[in-house]
Symmetry: C2
Subunit: 210 residues, 2 copies
DNA sequence: TCATTACACTTAACGGTGTTAAGCAAGTAC
DNA sequence: GTACTTGCTTAACACCGTTAAGTGTAATGA
């Protein structure tokens, strides 16, 4: 009896259709302007149908976030393969991260700019958290490689990794939330940030203390 | 006839009371969980009363944003006075910015992490925009001073200013939105970022291009 | 002193949000 | 052919920002 199989397949298809509609709306209507009702309207089902496929809005967004992180991870893995030299791997990885964020602002917002405080504190475990950790660990390995091969001066691995991530995240954030600011030429901006970051960590631990 | 004066004064007092209540709620309940109705409840007036004092929620938030930026500006001006040496002025200014954001996450969210795209495009002019520009220009002067005095290598002023701002903004953002991440020691983190940033701009234009 | 006017504020409502409970109609199973 | 399962919908709840209309009180002018 292939009935159950067909049903399961159809259920999975509609679930994917909902996710696709949601992502499309996020991209075209903006993060704040997407409601469950609008998603439902787009797929031509009643709003409550979505709740047969997702626990709630957070659950839906979580899956979108997971998809996004998987795409970013794939992009970064490709760069690691293409650039064996640690310094190039680092520079191209940072560039790719920034360009990913700028190119997919809605996806980036969902994955990196949403407030997670309440969610984490509610004890809920998100699918995207796991893969987010994986992407971070991989990046930390890249930083470690730079330190180990002498490209970077010996410094606290965790702090260094987090500083670099924070810096490039900051640029993506501002480019997304302040698109009308008097930004310098984008290529110059990205090049300057990545270049200075790498340069700043070449010299030994210049921790600025008061 | 001091009636009008008294009335004007009372109106101003209630306006300030509303602002204070709003800020208090933002701080204690979190940015997303504050509604006009809750603000009204806190000051023990009906929700619609707020609309006699503010155009809408954006208007209210705009004034809060302005207040916040004025406080930050004051903080940074004090540091400029206390540290005449360009390099110290830069380092302490960056530290102060980060610490301001970490210490007042709700205020920082309102001023620097809110989506402004739709607002700017609607042609509305916000009070906080003007002073935000002023704070940016002052910071750019600090960067220019570092370049002019040879602390930083000669580089594009605008790009350099924006990169440094983006980097410290990124750290504040992540510390706010991801408080449960496995952060390195906060002092080490801040010191590392500020130190590496300054170090990275000492060497001549290391713009990383693909 | 009394009618009028101005003002501060409220009540009621609109259209929107995320979400849940109950119901309906068609397909499957015996 | 009847009972049960499944997929979806309708109706509703409590919230949101916001507006229009109404209310009562205080100030004003005769």
């Amino acid at each position: 009896m292939g009935v159950q199989e067909r049903r399961a397949r159809e259920k999975q298809e509609l679930k994917q259709e909902i996710l696709a509609a949601a992502r499309d709306l996020f991209v075209h209507e903006g993060f704040e302007n997407v409601s469950m009702r609008k998603i439902a309207e787009k797929i031509e089902y009643s709003p409550t149908t979505i709740y047969l496929y997702f626990q709630d809005k957070i659950d839906l967004i979580d899956l979108l976030c997971e998809e996004t992180l998987l795409r970013l991870e794939g992009r970064l893995i490709a760069i690691r393969v293409a650039h064996p030299k640690p310094i190039e791997k680092m520079i191209e990885g940072l560039r790719a991260y920034i360009e990913f964020g700028v190119k997919h602002p809605s996806d980036y917002r969902i994955s990196f700019m949403m407030e997670f405080k309440d969610l984490v504190e509610s004890g809920r475990n998100l699918k995207c958290h796991e893969i987010g950790q994986r992407v971070y660990q991989a990046f930390r390995s890249d930083v470690a490689e730079c330190i180990d091969t002498g490209v970077f001066a010996p410094q606290d691995l965790e702090a260094t990794t987090q500083c670099i991530w924070a810096a490039i995240h900051g640029l993506v954030c501002l480019l997304i939330t302040r698109p009308h600011f008097q930004w310098a030429d984008r290529e110059l901006l990205i090049g300057t940030l990545v270049g200075s970051l790498v340069e700043g960590f070449k010299v030994p631990a210049p921790v600025a203390v008061s």
